[in-house]
Every structure is written in C-alpha cells, then in structure tokens.
C-alpha cells in the first residue's frame, strides 16, 4: 500500500515538474514563466517530499524532510518575489497585452 502511495506521489511530482517545464516554453515572458516554475516548486517538491517521507525508515528522517520542505516553501516565494521585483525595477517588459487593473 505504501509503495503504491509513494509511486503515486512521485508520478504526481513528475507531472508537476513536467508541466512547469512545458510552461517555460509556452508562456510568453519572464513574469508568466515564474507561475509555471511555481508548479514544480510547490506541488512538485511537496509530492516528492511526501513520497520520500513515506519511504523513510524512521521518524527523525521524516522530521528532517519536513524541515527541508518547510524551508523550501519559505525560500521559494521569497526568491520568486525578488526575481519579479528585480525584473520590474530593471525595466523587463511584460508580454504584449498585459493589462493593469486596480482592485
């Protein structure tokens, strides 16, 4: 049962990373590509971590993996934000047709 769940997690992770990579080709500019990469960074890494936790022989290893996942989910949005902000500050132009809307 655990092996089936682990395989499902790894397949889901592969799918998320694969779709993220496809997004790098399909999306038109740096800003939209960040969204595609975000798929691998959140669901891809999360499912990979979950699969590895299921395979782990002891709780200490599971705790370590949990810590690594938590750090990853804290660092990843910070880096994405920095890339987007640096792009905007340095005049990286968004794709044609990008609209500005006030909420």
């Amino acid at each position: 049962m655990i092996k089936v769940l682990t395989n499902l997690c790894f397949c889901g992770s592969l799918l998320a990373f694969g779709l993220g990579t496809l997004g790098l080709y399909r999306f038109p500019d740096s800003y939209t590509r960040l969204h595609a990469v975000g798929m691998g960074d959140t669901l891809g890494v999360g499912l990979l971590g979950l699969g590895l936790m299921l395979l782990s022989p002891n709780w200490l290893l599971r705790l370590k993996l949990g810590g690594i996942l938590l750090l990853f989910w804290l660092i990843n949005p910070t880096m994405s934000h920095l890339v987007a902000k640096a792009g905007l500050l340095h005049g990286v132009k968004p794709a044609p047709g990008t609209k500005v809307r006030k909420g």
Binding site: G23, F27, H35, L60, P77, H81, R101
Partner: protein
C-alpha cells in the same frame, strides 16, 4: 525582547538537533554556540517580530495553514488547465490591490501566500500604504485574489494578537509598568475589514 531571543535560540537548537540526528555533548555544544551567535547577530530583529500568539492564535494559524495547502493544490490545477487548454496560454495582468491589513507581518504573510500559490506573484508591497502589486496569470485569478478568504483569516489573526497586546498593556498599566514597543508593528487603529465573498 528576551522572550524572542530565547525562543529563537530554542528553535535553532532544536533544528540543529534534528539535522544532526544525534544527541551528544560535543554536537549539542557546537549547536548551542552557533545558535547563540545567530541570536546575537540578529538581536536587532527582535522588536520587529510579531508578539507570540496565544493558544487561540496558534490554532487559527494552524487552521489557515491547512487551508493554504488546499489552496496551493487548487492553484496548481488552475495553472495546469491554463497551460494545457487556454489559447493564448496566458492573458496576464498586473493587479494593484489594497487589502485591509494593518501590520507589516500580516502583509508579509499575505504576500508570501500569494506568491506560493502558482498563478500569482507579489511583485511589490508598499509598507506605507499597504498597496500590493501582484502579477496574475489571467484576469480570473487576479479577481479571485481580491476576494480571497485568506485576507479575512489574516485580519482575524491580527485582531487576536492586537487583543493580546492590549491586554498586556492594561496589565502593565495596572502594575505601574511602562509597556513600550507594543505598537512597533502598527497594531493600533480600527479594523477596516468588510465582508467579502469567500474564495472557494
């Protein structure tokens, strides 16, 4: 301040112990010294950190984190659909929004949650006005952000902490103590949260 430093030291030492995977005096000593140095290096950060939440606040935070996992999965599915089935693949927008968050930590939390859900990235946050510049993959994702239930959850968390701060300040007054630095996060002011339809 001391409470913050102590807590940070304990967290760092616990993290060190988990990573090393062994408990003996040499490793613990190295971990303790490293944790102490880190706490000393970051001591100026203490006053900027939010107050420690109460048990109710921690429960609310845990609940919000569980909801967040669901939203992240939902956002991944949305982006996958846009990627595979939408022609053209993206109709991006820059959204300027001003959620009614009063504290800096609330804004940071919200900005992080926006970016961690694929389909939206926080590009900038103005600390003076609380205005967010968000890049969204399409118009629908952008509009969903405006009515996201998470905003209400963070406002409720801010209120929980603000209540605690007020209680502590009253206790301090009662005992004739000076309670400075409680408003360093902008915890004063009225709640301007209005009812929003919830993001499903």
């Amino acid at each position: 301040m001391r409470k913050h430093s102590g807590l940070l030291f304990m967290i760092l030492l616990a993290f060190w112990t988990v990573l090393t995977g062994a408990v003996n005096w040499e490793l613990t000593l190295v971990g303790a010294v490293t944790a102490l140095l880190t706490v000393w290096f970051w001591q100026d950060l203490g006053p900027r950190l939010p107050r420690l939440p109460s048990a109710r606040g921690l429960l609310r935070l845990g609940y919000a984190l569980v909801l967040m996992v669901g939203w992240v999965i939902q956002a991944n599915i949305t982006v996958a659909k846009v990627l595979l089935f939408s022609r053209p693949a993206a109709k991006p927008i820059f959204l300027l929004m001003e959620p009614n968050l009063r504290t800096n930590w609330g804004r940071v939390l919200f900005a992080t949650c926006i970016t961690i859900t694929p389909g939206s990235v926080t590009v900038d946050v103005d600390p003076e006005t609380g205005r967010f510049i968000v890049h969204a993959l399409n118009h629908e994702i952008g509009i969903d952000l405006l009515y996201w239930r998470l905003i209400d959850e963070i406002i409720a968390l801010e209120n929980t902490l603000a209540d605690r701060t007020t209680l502590e300040a009253r206790k301090g007054e009662k005992h004739g103590m000076v309670t400075g630095g409680t408003d360093c996060l902008g915890a004063s002011g009225s709640v301007a949260g209005h009812h929003r339809p919830h993001r499903s």
